[in-house]
Amino acid sequence: MSKLISLEDAVARIPNGASLLIGGFMAVGGPNRLVDELIRQRKSDLTIIANDTARPTVGLGKLVVEKLVAKVITSHIGLNPDTQKQMISGDIQVELVPQGTLAERIRSGGVGLGGVLTPTGVGTTVEEGKRTVEIDGKTYLLELPIKADFALIAAKQADLYGNLTYALTARNFNPIMAMAATTVIAEAEDIVPVGCIPPDAVMTPSILVDHLISNSNR
Protein backbone atom coordinates (compact mmCIF):
# COMPACT_ATOMS: atom_id res chain seq x y z
CA MET A 1 0.00 0.00 0.00
CA SER A 2 3.02 2.28 0.16
CA LYS A 3 2.79 5.09 -2.37
CA LEU A 4 6.42 6.09 -2.08
CA ILE A 5 8.11 7.10 -5.31
CA SER A 6 11.37 8.87 -6.02
CA LEU A 7 11.23 12.55 -6.84
CA GLU A 8 12.76 11.87 -10.24
CA ASP A 9 10.29 9.11 -11.16
CA ALA A 10 7.29 11.13 -10.03
CA VAL A 11 8.17 14.14 -12.16
CA ALA A 12 9.08 11.90 -15.12
CA ARG A 13 5.39 10.97 -15.28
CA ILE A 14 4.45 14.59 -16.02
CA PRO A 15 4.50 15.24 -19.79
CA ASN A 16 5.33 18.56 -21.44
CA GLY A 17 2.16 20.58 -21.89
CA ALA A 18 0.52 19.18 -18.74
CA SER A 19 -1.82 21.23 -16.57
CA LEU A 20 -0.67 21.47 -12.95
CA LEU A 21 -2.46 22.62 -9.83
CA ILE A 22 0.35 23.77 -7.54
CA GLY A 23 -0.34 24.32 -3.82
CA GLY A 24 1.10 27.17 -1.79
CA PHE A 25 0.66 30.87 -1.13
CA MET A 26 3.74 32.92 -1.99
CA ALA A 27 5.41 29.48 -1.99
CA VAL A 28 4.50 28.95 1.69
CA GLY A 29 3.10 25.44 1.66
CA GLY A 30 4.34 25.01 -1.89
CA PRO A 31 5.78 21.74 -3.26
CA ASN A 32 9.20 23.25 -3.75
CA ARG A 33 11.10 19.99 -4.31
CA LEU A 34 8.68 18.99 -7.07
CA VAL A 35 9.01 22.44 -8.65
CA ASP A 36 12.81 22.24 -8.63
CA GLU A 37 12.65 18.79 -10.24
CA LEU A 38 10.30 20.09 -12.97
CA ILE A 39 13.02 22.61 -13.78
CA ARG A 40 15.79 20.01 -13.68
CA GLN A 41 13.86 17.78 -16.10
CA ARG A 42 12.98 20.82 -18.28
CA LYS A 43 9.25 20.11 -18.34
CA SER A 44 7.86 22.82 -20.60
CA ASP A 45 4.72 24.36 -22.10
CA LEU A 46 3.03 23.91 -18.71
CA THR A 47 -0.32 25.31 -17.64
CA ILE A 48 -0.03 26.36 -14.00
CA ILE A 49 -3.00 26.94 -11.73
CA ALA A 50 -1.88 28.50 -8.45
CA ASN A 51 -2.75 31.30 -6.08
CA ASP A 52 0.18 33.46 -7.21
CA THR A 53 3.43 33.22 -9.15
CA ALA A 54 5.53 33.85 -6.02
CA ARG A 55 8.83 35.66 -6.55
CA PRO A 56 11.33 35.09 -9.37
CA THR A 57 13.75 33.15 -7.15
CA VAL A 58 11.19 31.38 -4.97
CA GLY A 59 9.00 28.31 -5.49
CA LEU A 60 6.97 28.14 -8.68
CA GLY A 61 8.14 31.63 -9.57
CA LYS A 62 11.25 29.90 -10.89
CA LEU A 63 9.18 27.96 -13.45
CA VAL A 64 8.16 31.28 -14.99
CA VAL A 65 11.73 32.62 -15.02
CA GLU A 66 12.89 29.40 -16.72
CA LYS A 67 10.24 29.97 -19.43
CA LEU A 68 8.59 26.62 -18.81
CA VAL A 69 5.08 28.05 -18.43
CA ALA A 70 2.70 28.67 -21.36
CA LYS A 71 -0.33 29.67 -19.34
CA VAL A 72 -1.08 30.59 -15.75
CA ILE A 73 -4.43 30.86 -14.00
CA THR A 74 -3.86 32.84 -10.81
CA SER A 75 -5.02 35.69 -8.59
CA HIS A 76 -1.76 37.60 -8.14
CA ILE A 77 1.41 38.14 -10.16
CA GLY A 78 2.45 41.40 -8.53
CA LEU A 79 5.58 40.08 -6.81
CA ASN A 80 6.96 38.28 -9.86
CA PRO A 81 8.02 40.87 -12.47
CA ASP A 82 8.93 38.03 -14.86
CA THR A 83 5.29 36.94 -15.09
CA GLN A 84 4.28 40.51 -15.90
CA LYS A 85 7.04 40.90 -18.50
CA GLN A 86 6.18 37.63 -20.24
CA MET A 87 2.49 38.51 -20.14
CA ILE A 88 3.16 41.84 -21.87
CA SER A 89 5.50 40.23 -24.44
CA GLY A 90 2.88 37.56 -25.14
CA ASP A 91 5.12 34.67 -24.10
CA ILE A 92 2.79 33.63 -21.32
CA GLN A 93 -0.98 33.71 -21.20
CA VAL A 94 -2.31 34.97 -17.86
CA GLU A 95 -5.87 34.54 -16.62
CA LEU A 96 -6.40 36.63 -13.49
CA VAL A 97 -9.06 35.28 -11.14
CA PRO A 98 -10.21 36.74 -7.81
CA GLN A 99 -8.65 34.65 -5.08
CA GLY A 100 -11.88 33.45 -3.51
CA THR A 101 -13.25 32.61 -6.94
CA LEU A 102 -10.10 30.66 -7.76
CA ALA A 103 -10.53 28.62 -4.57
CA GLU A 104 -14.18 27.88 -5.36
CA ARG A 105 -13.53 27.04 -9.03
CA ILE A 106 -10.93 24.48 -7.97
CA ARG A 107 -13.15 23.21 -5.16
CA SER A 108 -16.11 22.79 -7.51
CA GLY A 109 -13.88 20.96 -9.95
CA GLY A 110 -12.90 18.55 -7.22
CA VAL A 111 -16.33 17.91 -5.75
CA GLY A 112 -18.33 17.33 -8.91
CA LEU A 113 -20.14 20.66 -9.18
CA GLY A 114 -20.81 22.36 -12.50
CA GLY A 115 -19.44 25.65 -11.20
CA VAL A 116 -20.24 28.22 -8.55
CA LEU A 117 -22.33 31.39 -8.37
CA THR A 118 -20.42 34.25 -6.80
CA PRO A 119 -21.15 37.96 -6.37
CA THR A 120 -17.41 38.70 -6.64
CA GLY A 121 -16.57 40.45 -9.90
CA VAL A 122 -20.12 41.47 -10.86
CA GLY A 123 -19.96 44.77 -12.77
CA THR A 124 -16.16 44.61 -13.16
CA THR A 125 -13.88 43.43 -15.96
CA VAL A 126 -14.04 39.96 -14.37
CA GLU A 127 -17.66 39.69 -15.57
CA GLU A 128 -16.72 39.92 -19.26
CA GLY A 129 -17.84 36.88 -21.24
CA LYS A 130 -19.51 35.20 -18.27
CA ARG A 131 -23.11 34.23 -17.66
CA THR A 132 -24.92 36.00 -14.84
CA VAL A 133 -27.69 34.48 -12.77
CA GLU A 134 -30.17 36.35 -10.60
CA ILE A 135 -31.24 34.72 -7.36
CA ASP A 136 -33.60 36.47 -4.94
CA GLY A 137 -32.89 39.77 -6.67
CA LYS A 138 -29.12 39.52 -6.38
CA THR A 139 -26.80 39.06 -9.36
CA TYR A 140 -24.12 36.38 -9.40
CA LEU A 141 -21.47 35.31 -11.90
CA LEU A 142 -21.36 31.72 -13.02
CA GLU A 143 -17.75 30.68 -12.55
CA LEU A 144 -16.77 27.36 -14.08
CA PRO A 145 -14.91 24.50 -12.40
CA ILE A 146 -11.16 23.99 -12.77
CA LYS A 147 -9.51 20.58 -12.99
CA ALA A 148 -5.99 19.64 -13.99
CA ASP A 149 -3.91 16.67 -15.08
CA PHE A 150 -1.79 16.80 -11.93
CA ALA A 151 -1.92 18.37 -8.47
CA LEU A 152 1.42 18.99 -6.76
CA ILE A 153 0.82 19.15 -3.03
CA ALA A 154 3.03 20.00 -0.04
CA ALA A 155 2.12 18.48 3.32
CA LYS A 156 3.53 18.78 6.82
CA GLN A 157 3.11 15.11 7.53
CA ALA A 158 2.18 12.08 5.44
CA ASP A 159 1.77 8.46 6.35
CA LEU A 160 2.80 5.70 3.95
CA TYR A 161 -0.77 5.34 2.67
CA GLY A 162 -0.74 9.02 1.71
CA ASN A 163 -2.94 10.51 4.43
CA LEU A 164 -1.85 14.15 4.76
CA THR A 165 -1.80 16.92 7.34
CA TYR A 166 -0.85 20.56 6.83
CA ALA A 167 0.50 23.19 9.23
CA LEU A 168 -0.89 26.66 9.92
CA THR A 169 -0.93 28.92 6.86
CA ALA A 170 0.87 26.31 4.74
CA ARG A 171 -2.48 24.58 4.23
CA ASN A 172 -4.02 27.22 1.90
CA PHE A 173 -4.88 25.71 -1.51
CA ASN A 174 -3.36 22.26 -0.92
CA PRO A 175 -6.39 20.28 0.31
CA ILE A 176 -8.70 21.77 -2.34
CA MET A 177 -6.25 21.04 -5.14
CA ALA A 178 -5.74 17.46 -3.95
CA MET A 179 -9.35 16.81 -5.00
CA ALA A 180 -9.26 18.40 -8.44
CA ALA A 181 -6.60 16.53 -10.42
CA THR A 182 -6.39 13.25 -12.31
CA THR A 183 -3.09 12.43 -10.58
CA VAL A 184 -2.07 13.76 -7.18
CA ILE A 185 1.61 13.87 -6.18
CA ALA A 186 2.44 14.91 -2.63
CA GLU A 187 5.68 15.78 -0.90
CA ALA A 188 5.80 15.93 2.90
CA GLU A 189 8.24 17.29 5.47
CA ASP A 190 7.85 14.14 7.51
CA ILE A 191 6.67 10.68 6.56
CA VAL A 192 5.33 8.61 9.45
CA PRO A 193 4.12 5.01 9.82
CA VAL A 194 0.46 4.29 9.07
CA GLY A 195 -1.53 4.87 12.24
CA CYS A 196 0.54 7.77 13.50
CA ILE A 197 -1.92 10.29 12.07
CA PRO A 198 -5.23 9.86 13.91
CA PRO A 199 -8.29 9.75 11.61
CA ASP A 200 -9.63 13.04 12.98
CA ALA A 201 -6.34 14.77 12.17
CA VAL A 202 -6.22 13.72 8.50
CA MET A 203 -6.84 16.74 6.29
CA THR A 204 -6.45 15.04 2.91
CA PRO A 205 -7.51 11.36 2.93
CA SER A 206 -5.05 8.93 1.38
CA ILE A 207 -7.51 7.79 -1.31
CA LEU A 208 -6.92 11.13 -3.04
CA VAL A 209 -3.14 10.78 -3.17
CA ASP A 210 -1.52 8.73 -5.94
CA HIS A 211 2.18 9.23 -5.23
CA LEU A 212 4.16 10.27 -2.18
CA ILE A 213 7.68 11.57 -2.77
CA SER A 214 10.34 9.61 -0.94
CA ASN A 215 12.32 11.60 1.60
CA SER A 216 15.58 9.72 0.98
CA ASN A 217 18.34 11.75 -0.69
CA ARG A 218 16.60 14.93 0.37
Partner: protein, 217 residues
Protein backbone atom coordinates in the same frame (compact mmCIF):
# COMPACT_ATOMS: atom_id res chain seq x y z
CA UNK B 1 3.04 62.49 12.84
CA UNK B 2 3.40 61.42 9.21
CA UNK B 3 0.38 61.09 6.94
CA UNK B 4 0.28 57.30 6.97
CA UNK B 5 0.35 57.15 10.76
CA UNK B 6 -2.46 59.70 10.92
CA UNK B 7 -4.61 57.67 8.54
CA UNK B 8 -3.87 54.42 10.39
CA UNK B 9 -4.70 55.95 13.80
CA UNK B 10 -8.01 57.32 12.57
CA UNK B 11 -9.00 54.03 10.91
CA UNK B 12 -8.11 52.11 14.08
CA UNK B 13 -10.83 54.01 15.96
CA UNK B 14 -13.39 52.32 13.69
CA UNK B 15 -12.51 48.85 14.99
CA UNK B 16 -14.86 47.51 17.65
CA UNK B 17 -14.28 45.02 20.41
CA UNK B 18 -14.72 41.51 19.01
CA UNK B 19 -14.41 42.49 15.35
CA UNK B 20 -12.92 40.17 12.77
CA UNK B 21 -10.82 42.42 10.54
CA UNK B 22 -8.79 41.92 7.37
CA UNK B 23 -6.11 44.49 6.54
CA UNK B 24 -4.87 44.93 3.00
CA UNK B 25 -1.19 45.22 2.15
CA UNK B 26 0.70 48.50 2.52
CA UNK B 27 -0.74 51.35 4.57
CA UNK B 28 -3.67 49.33 6.02
CA UNK B 29 -1.30 46.95 7.85
CA UNK B 30 -0.26 49.90 10.06
CA UNK B 31 -3.78 49.98 11.52
CA UNK B 32 -3.06 46.93 13.71
CA UNK B 33 -0.56 49.00 15.73
CA UNK B 34 -3.15 51.53 16.87
CA UNK B 35 -6.13 49.46 18.01
CA UNK B 36 -7.47 51.34 21.06
CA UNK B 37 -6.68 49.72 24.40
CA UNK B 38 -9.35 47.38 25.70
CA UNK B 39 -10.65 46.39 22.27
CA UNK B 40 -9.89 42.82 21.27
CA UNK B 41 -9.79 42.62 17.50
CA UNK B 42 -9.09 39.40 15.61
CA UNK B 43 -7.14 39.94 12.42
CA UNK B 44 -7.57 37.60 9.50
CA UNK B 45 -4.87 36.90 6.98
CA UNK B 46 -6.53 35.54 3.85
CA UNK B 47 -3.87 32.87 3.33
CA UNK B 48 -5.67 31.03 6.10
CA UNK B 49 -5.62 32.30 9.67
CA UNK B 50 -7.78 34.20 12.11
CA UNK B 51 -5.90 35.58 15.11
CA UNK B 52 -2.65 36.60 13.45
CA UNK B 53 -0.25 38.81 15.38
CA UNK B 54 3.14 40.38 14.77
CA UNK B 55 6.20 38.14 14.45
CA UNK B 56 8.10 36.96 17.54
CA UNK B 57 11.83 37.53 17.12
CA UNK B 58 13.68 34.23 17.00
CA UNK B 59 10.51 32.20 16.46
CA UNK B 60 9.97 32.48 12.71
CA UNK B 61 8.08 29.49 11.34
CA UNK B 62 8.12 28.87 7.60
CA UNK B 63 4.55 27.58 7.82
CA UNK B 64 3.20 30.72 9.50
CA UNK B 65 3.22 33.86 7.38
CA UNK B 66 1.01 36.71 6.27
CA UNK B 67 -0.35 36.99 2.73
CA UNK B 68 2.90 38.57 1.58
CA UNK B 69 4.93 35.62 2.87
CA UNK B 70 6.41 37.49 5.86
CA UNK B 71 6.62 35.78 9.26
CA UNK B 72 3.80 36.36 11.73
CA UNK B 73 2.71 34.83 14.99
CA UNK B 74 -0.67 33.80 16.33
CA UNK B 75 -2.70 34.84 19.36
CA UNK B 76 -4.26 32.42 21.84
CA UNK B 77 -7.51 31.27 20.24
CA UNK B 78 -6.20 31.56 16.68
CA UNK B 79 -7.47 29.18 14.01
CA UNK B 80 -5.99 28.15 10.68
CA UNK B 81 -7.85 26.82 7.65
CA UNK B 82 -7.76 26.36 3.88
CA UNK B 83 -8.33 29.00 1.21
CA UNK B 84 -11.95 28.02 0.49
CA UNK B 85 -12.90 28.52 4.14
CA UNK B 86 -10.85 31.69 4.36
CA UNK B 87 -12.77 33.24 1.47
CA UNK B 88 -15.98 31.75 2.74
CA UNK B 89 -15.47 33.90 5.82
CA UNK B 90 -14.90 36.93 3.60
CA UNK B 91 -17.66 36.37 1.06
CA UNK B 92 -20.14 34.86 3.48
CA UNK B 93 -20.58 37.95 5.63
CA UNK B 94 -18.49 36.70 8.57
CA UNK B 95 -15.82 39.37 8.20
CA UNK B 96 -16.83 42.49 10.13
CA UNK B 97 -14.50 44.93 8.46
CA UNK B 98 -11.80 45.19 5.85
CA UNK B 99 -9.35 48.06 5.44
CA UNK B 100 -7.92 48.45 1.95
CA UNK B 101 -5.73 50.86 0.06
CA UNK B 102 -7.16 52.72 -2.91
CA UNK B 103 -6.15 54.17 -6.25
CA UNK B 104 -9.48 55.97 -6.79
CA UNK B 105 -12.81 56.36 -5.03
CA UNK B 106 -15.67 57.99 -6.90
CA UNK B 107 -18.86 59.90 -6.12
CA UNK B 108 -20.87 56.69 -5.98
CA UNK B 109 -18.45 55.23 -3.45
CA UNK B 110 -16.94 52.81 -5.94
CA UNK B 111 -13.36 51.74 -5.32
CA UNK B 112 -10.65 51.06 -7.89
CA UNK B 113 -7.55 49.56 -6.33
CA UNK B 114 -6.24 46.63 -8.32
CA UNK B 115 -4.76 47.74 -11.62
CA UNK B 116 -3.56 50.56 -13.83
CA UNK B 117 -4.01 49.33 -17.40
CA UNK B 118 -0.73 49.24 -19.29
CA UNK B 119 1.29 50.13 -16.19
CA UNK B 120 0.59 47.95 -13.21
CA UNK B 121 -1.24 44.64 -13.48
CA UNK B 122 -0.51 42.82 -10.24
CA UNK B 123 -3.79 40.92 -10.15
CA UNK B 124 -6.69 41.43 -7.78
CA UNK B 125 -5.62 38.84 -5.24
CA UNK B 126 -8.32 38.89 -2.57
CA UNK B 127 -9.39 42.52 -3.05
CA UNK B 128 -12.53 41.86 -5.11
CA UNK B 129 -13.81 39.26 -2.64
CA UNK B 130 -13.03 41.55 0.31
CA UNK B 131 -14.86 44.57 -1.11
CA UNK B 132 -17.79 42.45 -2.25
CA UNK B 133 -18.18 40.41 0.91
CA UNK B 134 -16.97 42.28 4.00
CA UNK B 135 -19.72 43.75 6.17
CA UNK B 136 -17.89 47.06 6.27
CA UNK B 137 -15.30 48.36 3.78
CA UNK B 138 -12.92 51.14 4.84
CA UNK B 139 -10.59 52.70 2.29
CA UNK B 140 -7.35 54.07 3.77
CA UNK B 141 -5.38 56.14 1.27
CA UNK B 142 -3.62 59.41 0.54
CA UNK B 143 -6.08 62.05 -0.65
CA UNK B 144 -3.97 62.82 -3.73
CA UNK B 145 -1.18 61.20 -5.71
CA UNK B 146 1.24 63.05 -7.95
CA UNK B 147 -0.83 66.21 -7.60
CA UNK B 148 -4.07 64.56 -8.68
CA UNK B 149 -6.98 63.85 -6.40
CA UNK B 150 -7.76 60.18 -5.87
CA UNK B 151 -11.35 61.13 -5.08
CA UNK B 152 -13.05 61.59 -8.42
CA UNK B 153 -16.45 61.97 -10.08
CA UNK B 154 -16.16 58.61 -11.77
CA UNK B 155 -13.37 56.03 -11.49
CA UNK B 156 -11.33 55.88 -14.67
CA UNK B 157 -9.44 52.80 -13.44
CA UNK B 158 -11.08 49.34 -13.45
CA UNK B 159 -13.38 48.91 -10.45
CA UNK B 160 -12.69 46.42 -7.70
CA UNK B 161 -16.40 45.99 -7.03
CA UNK B 162 -19.66 47.83 -7.70
CA UNK B 163 -20.41 47.67 -3.98
CA UNK B 164 -20.33 51.09 -2.33
CA UNK B 165 -17.59 51.38 0.27
CA UNK B 166 -18.57 52.52 3.75
CA UNK B 167 -15.84 54.95 4.78
CA UNK B 168 -12.87 56.72 3.22
CA UNK B 169 -10.06 57.94 5.47
CA UNK B 170 -7.31 60.09 3.95
CA UNK B 171 -4.56 62.37 5.21
CA UNK B 172 -6.98 65.30 4.78
CA UNK B 173 -10.43 64.01 5.62
CA UNK B 174 -12.96 61.37 6.57
CA UNK B 175 -15.63 60.90 3.91
CA UNK B 176 -18.79 58.78 3.94
CA UNK B 177 -20.30 57.69 0.61
CA UNK B 178 -24.12 57.94 0.64
CA UNK B 179 -27.03 57.78 -1.84
CA UNK B 180 -26.76 61.55 -2.20
CA UNK B 181 -23.00 61.53 -2.81
CA UNK B 182 -19.81 61.85 -0.77
CA UNK B 183 -20.30 63.46 2.63
CA UNK B 184 -17.37 65.22 4.29
CA UNK B 185 -17.53 64.26 7.97
CA UNK B 186 -14.12 65.20 9.38
CA UNK B 187 -11.08 67.27 8.51
CA UNK B 188 -7.56 66.28 9.57
CA UNK B 189 -5.69 68.36 12.19
CA UNK B 190 -4.68 71.70 10.70
CA UNK B 191 -6.61 71.12 7.47
CA UNK B 192 -9.43 73.48 6.44
CA UNK B 193 -12.61 72.55 4.60
CA UNK B 194 -11.43 74.70 1.71
CA UNK B 195 -8.21 72.70 1.47
CA UNK B 196 -10.17 69.45 1.36
CA UNK B 197 -12.49 70.76 -1.34
CA UNK B 198 -9.56 72.11 -3.38
CA UNK B 199 -7.89 68.70 -3.29
CA UNK B 200 -11.01 66.71 -4.17
CA UNK B 201 -11.93 65.91 -7.76
CA UNK B 202 -15.68 65.92 -7.25
CA UNK B 203 -18.40 67.56 -5.23
CA UNK B 204 -18.48 66.94 -1.47
CA UNK B 205 -21.54 67.40 0.71
CA UNK B 206 -20.65 69.10 4.00
CA UNK B 207 -21.97 67.15 6.94
CA UNK B 208 -24.09 69.21 9.38
CA UNK B 209 -21.92 67.77 12.17
CA UNK B 210 -18.59 68.26 10.42
CA UNK B 211 -15.80 67.97 13.01
CA UNK B 212 -12.03 67.76 13.39
CA UNK B 213 -10.65 64.25 12.95
CA UNK B 214 -10.20 62.49 16.34
CA UNK B 215 -7.06 60.39 16.65
CA UNK B 216 -7.44 58.86 20.12
CA UNK B 217 -10.31 56.57 21.14
Amino acid sequence: MDEKTLIAKRVALELKDGDLCNLGIGLPTLVARYVPAGRNVFFQSENGIVGMSGPVAGADNHDLTDAGGSPISALPGAASFDSALSFGLIRGGHLDVTVLGGLQVDQEGHLANWMVPGKMVPGMGGAMDLVTGARRVIVAMQHSAKGESKIVTRCTLPLTSVRRVDLVVTDLAVIVPTDAGLVLKETAPGVTVEQVLANTGCELILSPDLRPMPLEG
